[in-house]
Assembly symmetry: C2
Homo-oligomer: 274 residues x 2
Amino acid sequence: MKNKRKVIFQGEKGAYSEMAVLKFFPDAITIPIRSFHEIFESIINDENEIAVIPIENSIEGSVNENYDLLLQNDINIVGEIFQRINHCLIVNQKHDKKILKVYSHPQALAQCREYINKRELEPIPTYDTAGAVKIIKENNLTDAAAIASKRACELYNMKIIDEGIEDRKNNFTRFFVISRKIVTKSTGNDRTSIIFGLEHTPGSLFRILNEFAMESINLTKIESRPTKETPWEYYFYVDLEGHQTDKKIKNTLENIKNKAKFFKLLGSYKRGEF
Amino acid sequence: MKNKRKVIFQGEKGAYSEMAVLKFFPDAITIPIRSFHEIFESIINDENEIAVIPIENSIEGSVNENYDLLLQNDINIVGEIFQRINHCLIVNQKHDKKILKVYSHPQALAQCREYINKRELEPIPTYDTAGAVKIIKENNLTDAAAIASKRACELYNMKIIDEGIEDRKNNFTRFFVISRKIVTKSTGNDRTSIIFGLEHTPGSLFRILNEFAMESINLTKIESRPTKETPWEYYFYVDLEGHQTDKKIKNTLENIKNKAKFFKLLGSYKRGEF
C-alpha cells in the first residue's frame, strides 16, 4: 500500500488552511499544528515535512507573521494555492433560541461586519474559525453561532443557517506550499518570490525595480516589512512572473543580488489556479 | 480660562496611544474611544475633532486597519509622533503568589515572547495593554501579571515588578495626528503621505517611482494594501521627504496624479522626533 503524503497546516481541522491543503494534495493526510512558528520549526527539523501556510488575503492583506518567518527560516516555496473564502453561519443541531452572539477569528468577524451589524449580533473573537465551531459545540451554546467554513460545519456535525455571509464576494486567500528539500522545475507558468534589503538612499528601490522594468518582468506583488534591527528600515518582498531558471530571470536576479544590501530567493513555483 | 484641547485615541487610559497624544499635545484632555472605526467617524462628523492613531511599529510593521481607514475617509494627516514602547510587567499591590499567566494585547505578547518563554508564563490575549492591567485589578488576580506601559501601572495604582521586558529595544510606534480641517505649512523638515493605484501592467510601479527618482525625492516608506475590489490589485502608500507646497514635490505629485489610475494626498506634516 502506498503511503499517503502528510501535510501540516495551522489551526483546527476544518480550517480554510486545511481546505487549501486538500485542493493541492487531494489524498493528503492533514495534520493540524498550533502556530505558524511551530510549522516552520517542523519544516526546518525534518526535510521530508511539507506545510501549507496562508500568505495574503484579497481583503485583509498580508499575513505578516508568515512574511517574517519566510525571512528567518531556510525554506523553499514550492507551490501556490488560491482558496475561495465562503463564510457560513453555523449553529448546534438542537439550536432553538434567538442568536445573540457570534464567535469567530477576528479576520472572519471583520469580513462579515455588515452582516453581523444587520443581525445585531455581538461578535466574540476566537483563535480560529473552526475552533469557534468547536466552542459552540462543546459548550452546547444555543444562543450563539460560529462563522467558519462548510467543512468545519460538517466535521463537527453542526447546522448551517446562512451561507456566503461575507460582505465582499471577492474573498480569496493565497497560500504557499513550503518545504526544505523540494525544488521545482519551470512549467512555463511560474512565479518567483524574493526578498531584498536596501541602503537608505534616494532612489535605491527605484534602481532595483529598474532591473525588472528593463527586462519587462512583471511584478505581481511588492510588500515591505520592518527589518526589526533598525527602526524604519524595511525588507522588500517581491513576487514576479517567471521561473528562477529562465535566463532573463536568472540574470536579473543576479544583478539585484549585486546591488542589494541583502538578497534571498524564496523559490519558484507554478502559479495557483482560481 | 482657556479651553484645553480635546484629543481622541483608541484604547483605555494608559495606552501607548494616550502617551503619544500627551507627547504631541502636553496639555490635552485625552478621550479614549473604543475602535479605530469610531475614531474616523468622529473626525468625519466634527471638523474640530483631532485624533492620534498608530500607523506602524518598528518591529510588527503597519497597522493595516488604519491604512485602510486613511484610504476610505476624507481626512488630513497633520502631525507625526514617535513613541518608544517600553513594556512593564505589572501586578496587583497585594500580589503574593507565583505568577503563572500574563495578560496583554497580542502585539505586546509577541514583542515579549522570549521573556514570557523564559519565565514560563501562559500568555492570555486581551484587546488593549492598559485593558489588561484593568482586568488584573478588577478581578483581583494574584497569580497573573499584565504587560503594559508605566503610565497604565500608575493610573491603576498597581506595582511594576520588571521593566523593559520587550525582546528588542528598538521598539517604537509611529503615530499620525489626523483631523478634517487643519492644513499644515511647510517647516523645512516635513514628510508627505500619498496613496496611488496603478494599471496592472509590467513596469507601472517603476514608472511612478521614476518620477521621484528623477527629482531625487527620498521615499521613506512604501506599503501595499489590497484594493478589496479586485483580488491581487493593490494600492500603494508612499511617504516622502518634503512638503506638498514645495515646488519640486508639487510638480512631481501632479505628474503622478496624471499617470496613476487613482491618487489621494493624505497630507504633509512636520517629521516627528525620537
